[in-house]
């Protein structure tokens, strides 16, 4: 289980990186944390001719939080984002979701932006980016562009990044005042890819009544699915579950049937909305105080 040969590039600047990517075209692949890519290479399920290793580029390893949101640089490791207190304050869903990303040792090396670029529908952060309405900033030798989450995930393992583009950072909007968040999933083992996962952002009014509820789904759709569930949330938990079960399109595999995953989507939607509501009420009190 050894990777096939490739030509390694170790650019030390973004400009150099995008120029190498432009030369490599479709034969090139960006290597950041490598926690998803290297197993694929080792099993020879992919054998790109060129690897553009961005680990030596200065200035990409940052997490920056403002009242508007959290900007995560291309070399920020999951673990750094998870432990970043300011980021957790601005958008608690990040740390809530990251706790489900594999195990801490993987999070020490894996990058958050890399996992977004990987566009795995089982990736927790893809769901967070979609649910929070964030974006990716991409750069190529042709220039820079901002890709909204809704336009970023095209299919399983397929993002909107062109072959010559490097994702420079991801931006996650802050959790609005009065809103709460939650992340739930069911996996076979602790740390495994989820059988189904649901994130929720719920806004409550001063009386604690839900005014808006949205859920994001991983695994049970080809790209991260976001549902507006406010009305169902106000109707009741059965309505919430029914809405989710009708909207998802899960596949069967050896770990769980499509039926089961659909059922989980319902159960976890209820749980996530419940938890996010509690969270929202708690945050509101903190804000009020």
């Amino acid at each position: 289980m050894k990777p096939a040969p490739f030509i390694w590039h170790g650019p030390t600047s973004v400009d150099e990186a995008v120029s190498v990517l432009a030369e490599c075209g479709r034969d090139g692949k960006v290597l950041a944390g490598g926690q998803s890519l290297v197993p694929v290479l080792a099993m020879r399920l992919a054998s790109p001719a060129h690897l553009v290793d961005i680990n030596r580029i200065a200035g990409l390893n940052f997490v920056e939080s403002t009242p508007a949101g959290v900007t995560v640089g291309a070399l920020a490791r999951h673990r750094a984002l998870e432990r970043d207190a300011a980021a957790t304050t601005a958008q608690p869903l990040l740390a809530q979701a990251l706790a489900f990303v594999a195990h801490p040792t993987i999070r020490n090396r894996g990058t958050s932006v890399g996992s977004l670029a990987h566009a795995d529908p089982a990736g927790e952060l893809t769901c967070v980016l979609a649910l929070t309405g964030g974006h990716i900033l991409a750069r190529s030798s042709r220039g820079e562009r901002r890709i909204a989450a809704a336009d970023f995930f095209l299919g399983p393992l397929e993002s909107a990044l062109a072959a010559d583009e490097l994702a420079l950072h991801a931006f996650f909007p802050a959790l609005p005042a009065g809103a709460g968040s939650a992340f739930t999933e069911v996996a076979r083992r602790h740390g495994d890819y989820a059988l189904c996962g649901v994130a929720a952002v719920v806004t409550v009014d001063a009386a604690g009544v839900v005014t808006e509820a949205r859920c994001g789904y991983l695994v049970v759709a080809e790209t991260p699915l976001v549902l507006e569930v406010t009305e169902a949330a106000l109707t009741g938990e059965d309505a919430l579950a029914d809405l989710a079960m009708a909207a998802v399109d899960p596949q069967s595999d050896i770990h769980g049937s499509a039926d089961y995953r659909r059922h989980l989507a319902g159960v976890l939607t209820v749980r996530a909305v419940r938890q996010a509501t509690v969270h929202a009420r708690a945050r509101r009190q903190i804000v009020a105080a």
Binding site: V186, R188, L195, I254, S257, D259, Y260, H263
Partner: protein, 810 residues
């Protein structure tokens, strides 16, 4: 008075090297000297095919590629099929693979071509360039397909049956007809496998000057691998030495031998006159080593109103995979160990061992016992439910009683010997188990949980385990002139702490300090006759041999000392390495000095040796320096060969919680009562039980080997083969796992010990099935059980359409 080591939790000698990175596993060998060439195999991507053509193409042109071998390159015995290791008269159609596939492949992963290159990276590059043309044949996956025999795995075995065996005791037909109650059950249990963290590995170094071969293999039997290599490569036994270095876990898979790789790697080393190494990668381990467990079972049982077994009639179908190199040991074990601690009035068991186009099936920890216990314990639960009795009461009604030993079950066991239990106390175990898990109070707890919307269930399982089968093991205990003791045993070690426990025995038996004793295992240079490490036999077999050899060495030491001191040996004692006349410890002679004197010398190669030379002291001119029948040196060489196996036993219970919404299953509490006779080192015994329970939980709730209908293994990675992490195993530190021991010594060996290696794993699937059934109130007939399957079962039953066998997932 010196310390007694037997029975003490002595910390392990082997730890020091292993915790400092100084262990030496097969892939670590050969860091010095000529670097080994490395191997990769072209393996079949198809479950069943005829090889039409192999095109090596430009693979040999890759810089660093040294050789490529296919079947055509083999000759002599190496070109013959691999051996049927354990022939049996009822294995009427044994089939084994070739070292490299000859014309046909019968499972995905079967080796076809070997590439030898400077490193594994290049060898894999070359494999990618070798083109094999296949004519695809139909895959036969699963017992149902094999029984249907629409397609044959081996053309000359059209019914796919490799073996058929019936054993019976009493008149099952008459007893069944007369029984007041009868039940039938259909059960199935899926595959799992050993999955040691270190895969297989072979390093071979050919010495062309000496025409000899040194092989390191990650094996559970060095001596038999040696014999097989010598036979296959046409070498005299004396020209082959095999060493099992540190081995990163075995659990059964490494008792299978000779692996094709154990033959072809030395073959290449000899041909190339270079060290050659193969280190199995994880995918190879999944698709080309061995699996276990898969069976379908049909049970008919007749019983009286107290639940006593009057007639037990079991038929099962055992999936043996593509070949039968290890014979029918697993199904024989299932068919005999199924009886557990019970004594049915009549018993009939019939099994068919079936070919499928999947990886071979050879023993994995438990080796057929988990399936047998599953069959028996599910039956016990069914009887209890039918009669409305407590599940423990039905078991109690059937126990062999403590005064009934030796108890002859009337069957022939896997070692070809009668199935006679030597000792045990099953009623006491059950009493202890009920207390440990809180059995009697559980009803209230379950009801309270139910009121709170939670599903709790309790279950139990009992087993008896034949351990320590023969034919024999030996040991060599050698006192050196510095007073230290070297012990060599023939079987191998893969984490069981043999270096520690056998040193404990020698320290006690000989009368030396523990840290004076060094143990070497699994090195044919040090000990040539041995069988191997399997069936929980090392402590029983080698432990006994070590004790006997130490006693021999001690007798010799006392005899030499008696001569020197001119006293009767019976008046001497040996304590802490010093021999003295009882009661006068001041006149003590060290074992080292006795070792010197035991070897009459002509040449004084060191200072100590002077004492033993011919002019050193006056001697009786009429006696030879070595008496007839004696030998120089202070050593003992003994073999232990018991008449039959000794029978360990245990009982487990679990409390599980089932999430009412997600059907996730969690183990709330787990209790183990365990009896392996006298314990040499309770800490190590407990460790064995801990590990076994974890593997059992893996087999019950997480691990399966998921083949599709084309014979592709869909979960051949650690991402998808779900070995439990710590988070999936109930932990003692969190109050979730509890252990209790009793000790009923075996009368069959000098130390009263029984094997402990496999015990922990054996009843777990039965226990979890019992507990989940209790929690959800639905029959659990198929294991392992995952949340998706349990959800399907609960959901289907809600629609009143309960299937006999829930599908895991499509």
């Amino acid at each position: 008075m010196s310390t007694r080591y037997f029975g003490a939790s002595v910390p392990r000698t082997e730890d020091l090297r292993l915790i400092t990175g100084q262990g030496r596993y097969t892939d670590d060998v050969g860091q010095q000297g000529v670097p080994a060439l490395e191997c990769a195999f072209v393996r079949s991507p198809h479950a069943h095919a005829r090889i039409v053509n192999i095109e090596v193409g430009d693979a040999l042109e890759i810089a660093g590629v040294h050789a490529i071998y296919t079947y055509e390159d083999l000759e002599g015995p190496a070109a013959e099929p691999l051996p049927v290791l354990i022939p049996h008269p009822n294995l009427h159609a044994p089939r084994t693979a070739y070292v490299l596939a000859r014309e046909f492949v019968h499972h995905v992963g079967e080796p076809i071509a070997l590439v030898v290159a400077d490193d594994r990276y290049l060898a894999e590059d070359a494999c990618d360039r070798i083109r094999v043309e296949y004519e695809i044949r139909p895959a036969v996956v699963g017992i149902a397909a094999s029984r249907a025999a629409t397609h044959a795995v081996h053309a000359d075995v059209p019914d796919n049956i490799s073996a058929h065996l019936i054993q019976q005791v009493g008149d099952v037909v008459a007893e069944m007809a007369a029984a007041p109650n009868t039940l039938e059950l259909d059960l199935d249990i899926e595959r799992s496998c050993s999955m040691p963290l270190e895969g297989r590995g072979v390093y071979a170094r050919w010495d062309h000057d000496d025409r000899s071969l040194r092989v390191y293999s990650s094996t559970q039997t060095a001596t038999s691998v040696r014999a097989a290599i010598a036979a296959k490569l046409g070498l005299p036994l004396g020209k082959v030495e095999v060493i099992a270095p540190d081995v990163g876990g075995g659990f059964g898979v490494k008792i299978m031998h000779p692996w094709a790789e154990e033959i072809i790697v030395p073959f290449a080393a000899r041909a190339l006159r270079r060290p050659v190494k193969w280190t199995e990668d994880r995918r190879e381990h999944f698709i080309s080593s061995a699996h276990e467990r898969g069976q379908l079972q049909h049970i008919r049982v007749g019983f009286d109103d107290e639940g006593r077994l009057l007639a037990l009639d079991v038929t099962f179908w055992h999936d043996n995979g593509a070949y039968t190199p290890y014979g029918i040991i697993c199904p024989i074990v299932t068919s005999t160990q199924l009886l557990g601690p019970y004594k049915p009035r009549s018993y009939r068991v019939e099994f068919y061992s079936m070919y499928t186009t999947t990886v071979i099936v050879t023993p994995y920890r438990g080796a057929g016992r988990p399936q047998g216990v599953y069959a028996m314990e599910r039956t016990m639960d069914a009887i209890a439910e039918y009669l409305g009795q407590d599940r423990t009461a039905v078991r109690e009604a059937n126990f062999i009683q403590p005064d009934e030993f030796p108890f002859d079950q009337g069957l022939i066991f896997q070692d070809g010997r009668p199935l006679i239990y030597d000792s045990g106390d099953y009623p006491r175990q059950l009493t202890m188990l009920k207390e440990l898990i809180g059995w009697d109070a559980f009803g209230q707890r379950q009801a309270a949980a139910k009121r709170a919307g939670q599903l709790l269930g309790i279950g139990l399982g009992c087993y008896v385990e034949g351990t320590g089968p023969g034919p024999y093991e030996g040991a060599h205990v050698h006192v050196l002139t510095d007073g230290s003791v070297e012990v060599a045993i023939g079987l191998t070690t893969q984490g069981q702490g043999h270096e520690t426990v056998f040193a404990q025995i020698v320290a006690d038996e000989l009368g030396v300090q523990f840290d004076k004793v060094r143990v070497v295992a699994g090195d044919t240079r040090r000990f040539g006759y041995a069988v191997g490490t399997f069936a929980s036999r090392a402590a029983v077999m080698s432990g006994s041999a070590v004790a006997l050899a130490a006693r021999e060495a001690k007798a010799k030491a006392l005899s030499v000392a008696a001569d020197l001191l001119e006293v009767d040996p019976v008046d001497l004692e040996l304590v802490d390495g010093m021999v003295s006349v009882k009661g006068s410890p001041s006149h003590a002679i060290g074992l080292g000095q006795l070792a010197v004197l035991s070897n009459p010398l002509r040449y004084a190669f060191d200072e100590a040796a002077k004492q033993a030379t011919q002019f050193a002291k006056p001697a009786d001119p009429d006696r030879p320096p070595i008496e007839p029948g004696e030998s120089p040196g202070l050593e003992g060489l003994q073999y232990f060969s018991p008449p039959r196996s000794t029978f360990a036993a245990g009982m487990h219970a679990a409390i599980v919680a089932v999430d009412p919404d997600t059907s996730e299953i969690s183990i709330v509490e787990y209790a183990v009562i365990h009896d392996c006779g006298n314990m040499i080192n309770p800490m190590i015994v407990a460790g064995q039980v801990h590990g076994g329970v974890a593997q059992g939980i893996g087999g019950a709730l997480y691990e399966t080997l998921a083949y599709d209908s084309d014979g592709q293994l869909l979960n051949a990675s650690f991402m998808d083969f779900l070995m439990p992490y710590v988070t999936e195993i109930p932990q003692i530190a969190l109050g979730q796992l509890k252990l209790g021991h009793i000790q009923t010594p075996s009368p069959l060996n000098p130390l009263g010990i029984k094997g402990a290696g496999e015990a922990g794993v054996i009843p777990v699937s039965a226990v979890i099935a019992s507990a989940v059934q209790d929690a959800v109130g639905l029959p659990i007939t198929s294991m392992p059980l995952n949340p998706s399957a349990l959800h399907a079962l609960r959901h289907t039953v809600a629609r009143a359409q309960m299937p006999t066998r829930p599908e895991v997932a499509e």
